[in-house]
Amino acid sequence: MNKALKSLNLSRIGLNLFIGLLAVFILGPLVWLGVHAFASDWQYPNLYPSGLTMRWWSKVFLDSAFATAIKNSLVISPIVVLISMFICLPAAYAAGRMNFFGRKVFMITLFSANSFPKIGLFAAIATLYYALNLMGTFVGVVIIQLLGTIIYMTWIPAAAFAAVPKNLEEAARDAGASKFTVFRTITLRLAMPGILVAIVMSFLASFDEAQGTYLVGAPGIFTMPTEMYSLVQNYPIQVAAVFSILLAIPSVLLLGLARKHIMGGQLAEGFQLK
């Protein structure tokens, strides 16, 4: 009895230790970087900064290059998501609800396009971009970011559409609802959590995309992540910390919006080919 109690205590300590280590592993780097945004100076090996300041924030907000990058990011990503929805959602509906010829090939083609190393694709795409005059253009950047969203915007909603029970729709039809009403009030509504998750994931994919945007957009178009590449090399760590916090805001807001559905399995469901 005593022995069992001891082992129970031991496993509880082990579990708490594990939680603590995971918290340090996951949150530690973020907190450490975040605190730097308010530190005037930080000498190794002091556990605390020499002082607190907001001067790095004004540096970021007053620098026109940073402001432009923030503006670009906030304009480009929503456009990318809207185009992605327009292009992919009908396809997702088809893939989820219709057993058309070549459906499986379609899904696998999207997947294999995703498994080519991105950096290699960006190197290869330069040729095409020069031929189409897309280098350094807004459209070019939008297309590059669009490529990373397609897999989310087709796969996740496809699974969500497929999961809508057919008998519900049929019952509504039998009760006299028009096809459009059924689609709007039942199909679309039940598939909405999946679509929401797809929108969030696509936004993050576009908002975070750095390497392709840099290759295609520079030197004319900078977004927040591409600005970050040059920033970490040329500015003190505090400026990068401020910029990181700004860059993380949209993601954190979206986390609040879609956390329930993402953890509820909508994302996982989307990645099982059916």
Partner: protein, 316 residues
């Protein structure tokens, strides 16, 4: 089993006409065309053109890049030349890079899977508040842009980072991990954990309680329940998690760029170096194709496992 499908779809019976594609099938195909075309034009076509360039086709669309680039091999057979492939294979750097890439991919994928399995199993079998804390913690990286996470980890494990700062106060000289392969592993595990957790935990949640309870009633230990019921039944999500994680790590760029050593480095960084800094686009593409070949091998596992599970559950 095919008959099962057509019986379920109401429209199927309405539109059966002599073997040809049904109108509904054509609609489906038409709806799926836009994303397919985008992918074919902006992914398929560049890869195809890139393949011809890597084989020494230096005219047509490859003319400009062949003029700008250095150490270009021109084709000497009707099918091209393997000159650039030969360059890469005989480049001493390449094998160091390849070894590091495979080492990181295998080690990080294993660590991610073990961590995700442990947390997801704990959540499935015991649950409660602590399980929720563990899962929530592991999802956090999903919402942090890679550039930030790479930079945050860089500063955390760097020469004047938190780990060294903290441990000096206990008289321990914690090693500087930034710019070593260990930092790449830390970074890739950090960024890959959320997807693996989501996949595996949703797979485990789908297993009915009754199965676990009845096994326990028959006297099965927790380990037998895990090994003989939970893991086999969640095999498909586990394989999906494994393949997406490893393919993602294989082609990763930002993490090894910020966290890894200069030499050897992972192939993702080397592809970019060869394309940009060294101006050797042909060799750069050759490396991309080598990474793609490895990724395709993993992708086959993924597709096969999916098809198998679809067959088992009667969807195919």
């Amino acid at each position: 089993m095919i008959s099962l499908r057509s019986k379920k779809s109401k429209e199927g019976s309405l539109t059966t006409h002599g073997g040809g594609p049904s109108p509904r099938s054509l609609v489906g195909l038409a709806l799926s065309l836009p994303p397919l075309l985008i992918v074919l034009i902006f992914v398929g076509l560049p890869i195809l053109i890139g393949l011809t360039f890597s084989l020494g086709f230096t005219t047509g669309p490859n003319r400009v890049i062949a003029i700008i680039g250095q150490q270009i091999h021109k084709k000497n057979h009707w099918w091209g030349t393997l000159g650039a492939y030969n360059d890469v294979i005989h480049d001493s750097r390449f094998f160091g890079d390849l070894r590091l890439t495979i080492f990181v991919t295998v080690l990080s994928t294993t660590l991610v899977l073990l961590l995700a399995l442990a947390i997801a199993l704990y959540q499935r079998l015991i649950g409660g508040r602590k399980a929720a804390v563990l899962v929530t913690l592991s999802i956090v990286p999903l919402f942090v842009p890679v550039v930030i996470s790479a930079w945050a980890i860089h500063t955390f494990y760097g020469g004047d980072g938190f780990m060294r700062t903290f441990f000096t106060h206990f008289g321990i000289n914690f090693p500087t991990l930034t710019s070593t392969p260990s930092a790449i592993v830390i970074g890739t595990v950090w960024t890959s954990l959320p997807f693996a957790i989501l996949m595996i935990s949703s797979g485990l949640q789908a297993i009915p309680d009754a199965l676990i309870e009845s096994a326990k009633d028959c006297g099965a230990s927790v380990f037998r329940v895990i090994a003989n019921i939970l893991i086999p039944l969640a095999k498909t999500p586990i394989i999906i998690a494994a393949s997406f994680t490893s393919i993602g790590i294989l082609g990763s760029f930002t993490i090894p760029l910020f966290l890894g050593p200069n030499q050897p480095t992972m192939l993702g960084v080397e592809i970019s170096n060869f394309f940009g800094a060294y101006n050797r686009p042909q060799q750069s593409l050759v490396m991309a194709f080598i990474v793609f070949a490895i990724a395709s091998g993993i992708a086959v596992l993924y597709v096969r496992s999916n098809i198998k599970s679809a067959k088992e559950s009667g969807r195919l």
